[in-house]
Each structure stands twice: as C-alpha cells, then as structure tokens.
C-alpha cells in the first residue's frame, strides 16, 4: 500500500513537473510576428488592414504589424540598415528588376513552387504573372493593376465620320489627318493624336509606342533588344512619318516645330483644362486612373454616369498591321510586394503575402474603390459593380497580349527613361540615324545591367 502511495505521489509529481516544463516551453516559443510596410493611406490602408485582420483570424498565434504611408525608398533604406519590414509593397513594377537584382527582395521560386505555394498561371492574369519576374526569378507577388489604354473622343470622331476607334497604326494616321485642324497662322488648333514624348508628364510614350508595334525590350540572350528587334526602328520611323504627314504637310521639321508649340500650350493634366477634355486632342494614350477625371471633370471618384461634356470611349492601343493579334491589349503594370532581405520570419511572411495576394475580398474592395482591377482571375472579367463605360478597362487588363515589359536590374528602370530620351531627341530632329541611336542605347542598357549583376 505504502509502495502504491509512493508510486502515485511520484507519478503525480512527475506529471506536474512535465506540465510545468511544457507550459514554460510554450511561453518561451518565439512570438510569430510579421511586419508589413505599405505606401497606402486613408481608405486604402483601412482596406489593407481589414485584409490583415482576416489573415490574423485565420492564423491563430500570428500577429501582423501593418504600417502605412511608407514608400519603397524608405523601405529600401531600412532594409539596407538591417531593420526593414518582413514584407514591403511597391506601387508599380518598374523597379522590380532593381529590388530583385540587388537582393532587397528575396527570391520566392522555392516558396511559390512548394507545398504551400501558388499556381501563378491559374491565379493571376497573364500580365501580372510575367511582370512580377525579373531575370527568371520571382521575387514578388502582384497586387492590383494599373492599365494604360487608348482613349478616344466619340463626338469628335463621329464628326469626322468614325464610329469606332482606330485599330491599326495606319488607321490612327488616317483618323488624325481628318481630325487635325489648323489656325489661320498655320499653328495646330486641334490634334487628332499626338505621338510625342512628354506631351503629358505621366505618359511613358515610348513604352506605348513599343506595345503598338509589338517591340521586345529584351532578347532571348537577356540583352537589350532595342537594336536587335527591328520593330523599334519601325515604330520610331512611324512616329516621324506621322508627325510629317499629319502636322507638317509632309515636312517633318515643320510638323515637329508646330507640335512643340502645340505641346507647350497644353492644358493642365489634372483638371477640366486637360486637352482631352477640352477637345484639343481627339485621341490619346492614358492610365485607367485618369478615366474618372475624364468622366466627371474634376472629381476623381468613379461615377455611374459621366457628367462632363466629354463623350469618350476606352479601347486597346491601335497596333501595327503586322501585330494585329495584339489588338485590344495595352500596357498593364502591377503593384508588387516582396519579402525583404534579412526577414527573420520568411515562413510566416510567405503565409501573409500569399494571403494578401489571393484575398478576393481585398481585391474586390480595392477594385470597387479605385477602379484598379486586381490581378486575380477569379473576379476579373467585367465586374458588375463598375459602371458600363469603364468596363473596357477590364478587357484591356485581361487581354493575353497586355503586358509590362520584362524588367531587369537597371536601377530605377533607367531603360525606360533612356528610351524616352531617345524618342524626344528623335521627334525634335536631333537624332539623325535611329538605327545607330538604338544600337548605342542597347549597348548602354547592357552595360548598366552588366554593372548591376
């Protein structure tokens, strides 16, 4: 009996001790915390934080610290200093090559392909899948999209006898010739279309030009294709021919001078005196976030019915006749997020990032508020809650030929700025030989990439 009592008391003591050890073990486990820095503010940050709350609810024990109003420059500085967040968000994908190439964002190839990974192709649209990769490395997941499409003034085109937007670059030239009018002193009064680098500040005209002609930014050898892809020279020659024929009566220098003056007199970009709103220009390239302004005048919120006098339509870019299969497409970029170098909790960071990228509630709320379609395929084509006039944006976003160009580590997407400089120099008549200039440009871009690799 005594032995039994002794054994029972020993067993009880051992159990208590074991449970204490176990409890202490739980208490000592590292807290699972993931820090997310984003550039969002106000209502957008609220939506973002609501999604983060959902993630925390679905993952007991996981705490996500969300900090808004932090741009990538600040994030990069912190990452460099070793006290960056686990996840950082960039508003666009132009800098992805830099974030990936410099190692600021970690490679996600293994995580994406792993057991808890994502089937990118069935989850996101084609443009998003392609534009979140750099140098064959995926180091980002896409968020919402930014769509660059073709805007046309329906009333002005109707007056010229057109009921549909131009489909090809040939059409665009013909339309413009009909739509362009001149003042008595010979200056341009209204323009059909202005293929001019720097017409409006936020236009990346050279990128749109390349998309129209299906020109590639990089070749199979991973080098710049500005020289090797003849479509670039073709695109620039088309631009020059367009300026000469539409604005110079066949004389390029005359057209260039007239356009310089016309562009100098452009109305403000962010209000009712925008050239597209005043009818000074009939057709133009622009971003999806300009559409609400064109619709309402100076109110940037999405309206069911347009209240501005402007009667406009949205379509894909006109394309060169040998690139007809790309008609309907545009340039589509994405917000991106990545796991920072130095993150001590990659496993949990991946859980959070994957959940944010695939959260359909967040995507829907974001789209409803900003008219910025998510990259998620699940809800994409023509959502019912957006006004009819805006829906062509979704067609452009989901066109399989819509894309951002391949990004490489060129610092702050310097290849775009360099190409834009060349376009400006060419349109001003300062570059005589486009093939040679494109060749020099390609060499310069290759040098930058080589230095950064």
């Amino acid at each position: 009996m005594m032995k039994k009592r002794l054994f029972a008391s020993f067993a009880a003591t051992a159990l208590v001790a074991a449970s204490m050890v176990a409890t202490t073990g739980v208490a000592q486990a590292a807290p699972r915390t993931v820090t997310v820095w984003s550039p969002y503010q106000g209502a957008n940050l609220d939506m973002w934080n609501a999604a983060i709350k959902r993630i925390e609810a679905a993952n007991p024990g996981l705490t996500v610290k969300s900090v808004g109003n932090i741009d990538m420059a600040k994030s990069l500085a912190a990452i460099n200093a070793g006290n960056g967040p686990d996840i950082s968000v960039s508003n666009g994908n132009g800098n992805l090559g830099w974030f990936c190439g410099s190692g600021a964002w970690q490679k996600l190839n293994t995580l994406v392909a792993g057991k808890d990974g994502i089937d990118m192709k069935t989850t996101f649209n084609a443009a998003a899948v392609a534009s979140s990769i750099s140098n064959n490395n995926r180091c980002a997941l896409p968020l919402y999209s930014e769509i660059f499409a073709f805007y046309w003034n329906k009333d002005l085109l109707a007056k010229a006898g057109y009921t549909t937007p131009p489909k090809t670059t040939t059409d665009l030239l013909a339309y413009s010739q009909k739509l362009t009018t001149f003042n008595s002193d010979g200056s341009i009064k209204t323009a059909g279309f202005v293929p001019w680098a720097g017409y409006y500040g936020f236009d990346m005209d050279s990128m749109w030009l390349g998309q129209m002609f299906g020109a590639k930014w990089y070749g199979g050898d991973r080098n710049s294709a500005f020289a090797s892809d003849v479509k670039w020279a073709k695109a620039f020659n088309w631009q020059k021919d367009f300026i000469a024929k539409v604005y110079g009566g066949g004389n390029f220098d005359k057209g260039s001078k007239l356009l310089t003056k016309f562009v100098a007199a452009r109305g403000g970009e962010w209000g009712t005196d925008h050239d597209f709103m005043t009818g000074r220009v009939a057709m133009k390239w622009d971003a999806n976030w300009m559409a609400p302004m064109f619709c309402t005048g100076d109110d940037w919120t999405m309206a069911e019915k347009c209240t501005a006098k402007l009667n406009f339509g949205i379509a894909g870019f006109p394309v060169s006749p040998d690139n007809l299969s790309a008609y309907g497409s545009g340039v589509v970029g994405q917000g991106q997020m990545g796991i920072s170098k130095g993150s001590k909790n990659v496993k949990d960071a991946w859980i959070v990032m994957k959940a944010l990228a695939t959260d359909t509630k967040l995507a829907a709320a974001w789209d409803a508020a900003n008219g910025a379609p998510s990259s998620l395929l699940a809800k994409e084509a023509r959502p019912a809650n957006q006004p009819t006039w805006y829906l062509p944006i979704y067609d452009v976003a989901n066109n399989p030929k819509s894309a951002y160009h391949i990004v490489k580590n060129t610092g702050e997407h310097l290849e775009e700025a360099l190409l834009q400089n060349l376009m400006a120099s060419w349109q001003a008549g300062d570059t005589a030989n486009i093939k040679s200039a494109l060749s020099d440009l390609a060499e310069k871009v290759n040098q930058i990439i080589s230095r950064n690799s």
């Binding site: 830099w98 410099s102 060129t410 610092g411 702050e412 400089n421 230095r451 950064n452």
Partner: protein, 321 residues
C-alpha cells in the same frame, strides 16, 4: 624685471610690498572642449565622416542594399572612358560657368553702378533689385518656365509684337534652354549686386574728383579707378561663382522636370551625381563623381588664386601672399 616695476604693475598691492608668486593657471581644456563640442560634432559627423566615407565608397560598387565591394579605380575609368553622360554633364556645366560667371559679374556691377546714381528713393530701388534673389529657386524657376513658354508666355508675345516672327522656344529647345537658365540667374543677381554696391560705395570720391580735375573722361575714371578698385570684389565673385556653378542643380532640375528635358540640354554635373546616386542607385560611382567634382573645383579655384596677383589690386596689399 625690477622689483619696483613689479609692484607698480600690481594695482592691488600696497607700495613697497612684493607681489606673491603667480600661480600657474590651468588651461580649462574641458570647458573649451564643451564650448567647441557642437561645432566639433557637426564637423566630425556631418562633414568629415561623410567625406571619408564617400572617398572610400568611390573605390567601391555600392547599391545601398549589398555591402560595398572594392573595385579599385573602375569607377574613375568608367567615368572618363565609358560614360557619355559624364561628358555631356561636364560640357553643360563648363558652358554655364564660362558664360554665366562673366555675365553675372558684369550685370551685377552694372546694376550696382546704376543703383549708386539715384539721389532719392535709393533704398527702395536697392530693395527692388535685391528682392528676386530672395525668391526660392524652385518658385523662380517654375515662374520662368511659364513666362518663357513659347505658346502662351508673355516674353514670346512681346518678342512677336516687336517683329520677331519666330522667337525661340527657350526651355523647350535644347539650343536655347541654357540661355533661359542664364536669364534666370541674371534676374536673381541681387546677392552679388549687393557686394558690388558695397565695393563701389567704398571707392574714395577724392579719386574721382582728382581724375576730374585732370580731365579724365567717364570711361577713363571707370577704367583706371573703379575697375582696379573693384577687382577684389570681382575676384571674390569669380571664386564663389565657379564653386556655385559647378554645383548648379536646383534650377536645372526643376526646369528639366517642368518641360521634360529629355534631350539633356539642362543636364549638369550635379544632376549626374544625383541621378547616379538616387536613380541608378550607384552610390560608389556617385561618390567618385563627387570627388572628381571636388578636384575640378579645387583646380579652378587654385588657378584663379594663382593668377590674382596679376590682376587683383588690394589697396592694402594682397590677402593671399
């Protein structure tokens, strides 16, 4: 030293009493150090350390994310033999220095001379001429890109009104954009003008009176009295002008952004440093550029200092013997 003299020089001692031996005072090093510490802190952490750090970085490849990698003289080789933007930026910078410094000096001296003339309301005129130099560079540049706009700017309207059929496109034309910046600089000449005005007012009027009695013309008075006596001011303005023009940035950066200067006609050396550091994220290369800029500026300043003996006239002898 005699005893009497020691006593005489000690006002607190009675006559005939010997002064006690002087105690050797301790230098209050701690107090001196404490007084100097704000300056010392500033010079060590905000000048010396960044300079040493950037000197080291100029021999490295450093992208802000990865640790700097030693590349020896590669950055300097690239600068001189591979980087066409470096030469473009240097060319533009030299152009603006060579054209703007003499123009600024001449214009400042002329304006100052004009301001010595009015008998009434002198201070009002001086204030009016000085005011533009107080306008922030960004605001002034934005205003200039507006008034020089070829389509609606008042300048071209005026030029057209006086019969110039095709006035320049100013900031929109690579051939004219730098002239727009020169005019902007001349408009804000107030700070230099004030120094010239002080110099002109410092010329003794007796010299002009004597010259007048000798029958000197206005030009001769200027050539043989005013100009020589103004050479120290001209020298000072030249040195500060060279240093300033090699660091020319704000106006060019703002104007370039306003008109989308894709042709790089307003791309200056400081802009190249900025773009290399904060667009290309090549901190090592940007540091190398900055050190070369320092050497260029130093050489130019030394050349001016060396030549000043030949043309700068100090009434009381040279400051730099």
């Amino acid at each position: 030293m005699s005893q009497a003299r020691v006593i005489a020089s000690s006002p607190f001692k009675k006559k005939g009493e010997l002064a006690p031996p002087r105690r050797k005072l301790k230098t209050p090093w701690l107090f001196i150090f404490l007084c100097m510490s704000p300056w010392l802190f500033g010079i060590i952490f905000f000048t010396a350390y960044p300079m040493i750090s950037s000197f080291y970085q100029s021999f490295t490849k450093f992208n802000l994310i990865e640790s700097p990698k030693w590349v020896g003289l590669e950055n300097f080789h690239r600068m001189f033999f591979e980087d066409s933007d470096f030469w473009q930026a240097l060319k533009n910078t030299v152009w603006i220095s060579v054209i703007s410094i003499p123009l600024r000096i001449a214009f400042a001296m002329f304006t100052a001379w004009v301001l010595t003339k009015p008998k009434r309301g002198r201070n009002i005129y001086r204030t009016i001429f000085f005011l533009p130099s107080m306008v922030p560079a960004v605001a002034a540049t934005m205003a200039f890109t507006y008034i020089f706009n070829p389509a609606y700017g008042p300048i071209n309207r005026m030029l057209e009104a006086i019969g110039i059929k095709e006035p320049p496109f100013w900031f929109l034309d690579p051939k004219w954009s730098k002239w727009g910046l020169i005019l902007l600089g001349l408009w804000g000449i107030g700070d230099t003008m004030i120094i010239f005005l002080a110099g002109l007012l410092d010329v003794p009027t007796s010299l002009y009176e004597a010259a007048s009695l000798e029958g000197a013309s206005g030009w001769q008075s200027f050539r043989y009295i005013t100009l020589p006596l103004m050479t120290p001011v001209i020298f000072f303005s030249t040195v500060t002008g060279v240093i300033g023009s090699f660091q020319y940035f704000t106006q060019a950066y703002v104007a370039s952004g306003q008109v989308n200067d894709y042709s790089h006609s307003m791309y200056f050396y400081a802009t190249h440093i900025y773009f290399s550091a904060f667009r290309a994220y090549e901190m090592g290369y940007a540091s190398a550029l900055a050190w070369v800029l320092l050497v260029i500026t130093l050489l130019c300043t030394l050349v001016i200092l060396k030549t000043q003996k030949r043309w700068v006239h100090y009434p009381n002898g040279s400051l730099f013997k």
